[in-house]
Each structure stands twice: as C-alpha cells, then as structure tokens.
C-alpha cells in the first residue's frame, strides 16, 4: 500500500467540488455581468448566501451525523413568528422575545431528535411531519392572533434598536452597506467547522453517521449526539428567523417553505453524502455561496430567474455524482 500524494489527498476532500463550482460561477458572472463584481453586487450575493449558509452549515453537521431535517426551512418562519407575536402582541422586549423563541426552537429540535431515535423511523419522515405541523401552527396561530397571515410592527418594540443592531444592522465598507448576517454566517461556519474537525464531539458526529453500530460498540453516546445535532439545526434556523424578523420587522406565516431543500442542496454541493458519515462544513458554506452567487448573478445578468432552477438541478446532480465517486474511493472495495 502506497501513501497517496498531497494532490491526491486534496482531490479526496469533500469540499473540493464546491470550491471548484464556486470559482467557476464567480468567474462566469464576473465576466458576463458588470454589476456582479461591484461592491453593491458583492453585498447582494453575500447576503443571499448568508441566510442560506447559516442553516446549511448546521444541516451539513446533521447530514454527516446521518440525519435530515425537513422542518428547518419552516422553522425560520416559526421562530420569527414567536418573536413577533411575543413582542408586538404581548409587549415583550426585543431581547427576551427572541430568547423565548430560541428555547422554542431548541425544544422542537430536541423533539425531532427524540422521535427519530425513539421510533427508529427515518428522520426524513419524522421531520416531514414536523414540517407540516409547524406550517399548520404558523398559519393557524398567526390567524388566531392577528386575523391576518402576517405579524408586523416589530420596529416599535422596546429594545428593537439594540437587538436590531446585533442581528440586522449593516456595516459600511467603502461606501457599500454589508448586512451583518454575513458576519453571522462566517461565525457559524467557523464554529461548526471547528466542532466537526477539532473536537471529540465532531469525531462522534462522523461515527454516528458513518457506522452507528460501530460507534455504539465503542461507547459513543449515539442518542445524545444526534439530538444535539437536531437542536443545533433548529438553533441555526432560529438565528435566520431572528435576523429576518428584525430586518424586515414583519413576517409572513407562510415564509420559509422550500428553504429546507435549499439547505440540503447546499450541503450536498458541499460534499455531504445523503447516507451520512462524510461531508464538510466549509463545503456547505461554499455550496451556499454558489447558490447565492448564481441566484443573484442571474438577476444581474437580466436573465429570467426560471433558469436558476435549471442551473440548480444540474448542479445538484453533478454534485451527487462527484460525491458518490469520492465515497467509493474513500470506502474502498478491498476485502
């Protein structure tokens, strides 16, 4: 057995496909459009990528741990609604309201995880149930409380100034306003990547996703690890929901639907296997970046945004094929 060279090693990294994709998409739109590389243009696609990327990096951890969460998209709306209802209807300050919303998100995440592990059902089904249930609660509760399908008026809530500064302000860089969500995205990616690669917990995430029985046999707490991953995903969705409600000051009850697949697509583009045990947090962040650049690039190029879906579909299929080839190489077929 010979030791593979550094180039070979690099080619076997899960995020290499996403990096290549990001470079290609970046180069293409930089050449094809004028606005894409302008500071204002950069801010639009970084902003788009950040809202996606914050949850995508958590979803990547969850997928590496061998599970899915289809309720993460709707959760961004649920958490925004909880915050909005508590503060605009019950008069809560703009700090304790999101804090209560975070507790709600973590509880739903824990429930998701507990149900998956308790029943042994695929998380795809369990969180599909959570997705539908949350969607119903979002609409039902909003209509009960407001008589409409949206909650607004966040701006006049006490504490809005400081909370808005932390979650929804912009930072001027060279005359262009960059949303602070980009910093949150970078922070989430750094934390998640560190946890995955450099902590015992991260090692166990790989193990519970790659071979759960082997993990259990050496004493890895499978249940706790997976429940924490579901909670982290819900927590990331809460962060996006909080950023949204503080930035737009209102929330529609039907928001967030469809985002769950975008998170998964970003994670898969980033090298996560659908079967778990392999993937990359930085890859998922790059996947979100590809997503944001393509979506905004198409707008800058004045194309019909319908083409974005085509692009996305092709990209997803290509990513899955690359991932599968990688996996076969990594797993090996030797007896």
């Amino acid at each position: 057995m010979t030791s593979p060279g550094p180039l070979h090693r690099l080619a076997a990294r899960p995020e290499v496909g996403a990096l290549l994709g990001a470079v290609l998409v970046f180069a293409f739109f930089s050449v094809a459009t004028e606005r894409f590389l302008s500071p204002g243009g950069v801010a639009t696609w970084l902003d788009d990528a950040s809202a996606l990327g914050i949850v995508a990096v958590a979803v990547a951890l969850l997928m590496i741990g061998g599970e899915f969460d289809l309720s993460a998209g709707v959760m961004t709306a649920s958490t925004a609604l909880v915050t909005a209802v508590l503060s605009t209807r019950l008069g809560w300050n703009a700090w304790p309201a999101p804090a209560a919303s975070l507790v709600f998100a973590l509880a739903v995440g824990a429930l998701n995880g507990w149900l998956v592990l308790r029943t042994g059902l695929p998380s795809f089904i369990v969180t599909l149930g959570a997705f539908l249930a949350l969607q119903g609660v979002n609409l039902g509760v909003t209509r009960l409380v407001t008589g409409t399908v949206q909650v607004s008026g966040m701006r006049s809530v006490p504490g809005y100034e400081s909370a808005g500064f932390v979650f929804a302000s912009t930072v001027k860089v060279g005359g262009t306003a960059f949303p602070v969500s980009i910093a949150w995205w970078v922070l989430c990616t750094a934390v998640a990547a560190t946890v995955l690669a450099r902590t015992p917990f991260g090692n166990r995430v790989f193990a519970v996703g790659g071979a759960v029985e082997a993990a259990r046999a050496v004493g890895v707490p499978v249940r706790r690890t997976k429940v924490l991953l579901f909670m982290a995903t819900a927590g990331a969705a809460w962060l996006v929901g909080t950023i949204n409600i503080l930035r737009f000051t209102s929330v529609q009850a039907n928001q967030g639907i469809g985002l769950e697949f975008q998170f998964i697509v970003a994670a898969v583009i980033g090298g996560c296997l659908l079967t778990g045990g392999f993937g990359s947090v930085v890859g998922a962040a790059l996947g979100a970046l590809v997503f944001g650049m393509a979506r905004q690039g198409i707008v800058h190029a004045n194309w019909d945004s319908d083409w974005f879906q085509l692009f996305l579909g092709v990209l997803l299929l290509a990513a899955v094929l690359v991932n599968n080839a990688l996996r076969r190489r990594v797993e090996g077929v030797r007896g």
Partner: protein
C-alpha cells in the same frame, strides 16, 4: 499457571424464549493464553460471547472476573472491567481515517471546559505507536479505514482494544471471510496480544486458525460443550484434523514468517 483466571464462566445456561442456546458451558480465560471457541453456525458461540461481553445475562451459572463473581448490567460495564469485544463486521467506521477510528469514544483533548479541543497530534501519535506495538505497519494513519484490507481493519480494532486497556479480548470470527494471507496477519496480531499478557477468546469455525494460536479449546455443539482440552494434551491431529494440508501449511508459514 497460578492465580485466578482473568475471566471464567461456570455452568452457564441461557435460553431464548424456550429455545436452549447454552447448557452448562464452562470456559476459562487466563492471562497470556488464547481460549478458542469452536463450533458450527448455531452451536451457541455467539450466545456465549454475548454472555461473556455483558450483552446477555445468563439464566444459570456464574461469571467470575479475576475470581470475583460478577453480573454485568451492560456491555459498557464489561468494558469497564477490561473485557473488550471486537465484532466481525462492526469494528470500525470505514469512512473515517485510521486515527479517528482509533481514538473514537476516548479522544485525547487539550484545553479546558467547553473549549476542550481534540488533540489531533497526540491522537495520531497514540495511533501510530499503539499499532506499531502490535506490529501493525500502517504508513499512513490519515487514510480512511475503508481503504484498508479486511485483515488490517481487524488489526486496527484489536490494537485499539489493547490500547484502551483491555485485559480480555473477545474476538468474534476475526478471520471469517479473509484469505489465507489476511487471516495469517490477524492471527499473528492475536498472538502478539497474547504475548503481551492479554487473555484472548477467539471465536471461529475454522479449526486450523484456532489451532495455530490457541492454548485451550472448547468445542460447542447445539449449546453444549462436546470437547474441551488444552493444546499440550492433544497433538495437531486434534482440532486440526480434517483440514486441507495445503492451506494449513501456507497458514503456518504465514504465521511463522513474520512473527519476529
């Protein structure tokens, strides 16, 4: 051989819903010895190791760890008493690197409290040195375990159990589905673990493999012990009888060849 055996089972009986899986089975595991459990499929081998490893509680009979009567509530408890089991299939996580597998479940850390990080350098060193101590030559601990051969994977799992302080090593069919060369590799490392003073329980249905490293032999048939003896008491004609000579000779060569 003096002193209490590391692990002893006396008169073990176990039934699964009316079906008798084990009846009056006794087995002794001593430090520096390999106890081989032989038998066909369904003879009760796996039930016996599950009793020894703390997965099943026996209906009858007693377990003694270092001469002290013990009841294991869980495999974890058995592990804490130094009884480690290496299963045939679920020993390692194929997609993870050798060193990540090696430290899994007992990762070395540095730093304090919630900021404790995985000490990757130490994890790699520990992996390298523990593998080297058992004579497993892996140039690259960074490669995924999936790229190793079946024999090498077993060796990694065995080395890990030894490293984690196992006193008794229960190996469930470690050589099943391996070729002669690969099986020889695994058995060589079983012998090395034995020489380091571990007690080994080797479950196999291959008498040749058992005879090449075993000190005690237990032949199970439909849950009963039909033959139990020490190596000295019986020649190579014993359990190895009926084996094809060619494969046996090749295995012996493989074992001797690199044993130094």
């Amino acid at each position: 051989m003096t002193g209490a055996p590391l692990l002893e089972a006396r008169g073990i009986g176990k039934s699964h819903g009316g079906v008798v899986a084990l009846r009056d089975v006794s087995v002794v595991v001593r430090a520096g010895e390999v106890t081989c459990v032989l038998g066909d499929n369904g003879a009760g081998k796996s039930t016996l190791i599950k009793v020894l490893a703390g997965v099943h509680r026996p209906d009858r009979g007693v377990l003694l760890v270092a001469g002290e009567e013990t009841r294991f509530a869980s495999p974890r408890e058995a592990l804490d008493r130094g009884i480690a089991t290496v299963h045939q299939d679920l020993a390692v996580v194929p997609l993870m690197s050798v060193w990540r597998n090696f430290v899994l479940g007992s990762e070395p850390t540095r730093g304090f409290g919630p900021l404790r990080l995985l000490d990757r350098r130490r994890a790699r060193e520990v992996t390298r040195s523990a593998l080297a101590a058992l004579g497993v030559d892996l140039r690259d601990v960074e490669q995924p375990v999936g790229t190793l051969s079946g024999g090498e994977r077993q060796c990694v799992a065995i080395a890990r159990a030894v490293h984690l302080g196992a006193k008794v090593l229960i190996l469930d069919e470690p050589t099943a589905a391996l070729g002669v060369k690969q099986a020889g590799l695994v058995l060589r490392h079983v012998a090395r673990a034995r020489d380091r003073g571990l007690g080994v329980v080797l479950i196999t249905h291959n008498p040749q493999h058992a005879y090449s490293v075993g000190d005690r032999f237990l032949l199970l048939e439909r849950g009963r012990v039909v033959n139990s003896h020490m190596k000295s008491g019986i020649g190579p004609v014993g359990p190895a009888a009926g084996m094809a000579g060619g494969a046996g000779a090749a295995l012996e060569r493989e074992l001797r060849g690199d044993a130094g």
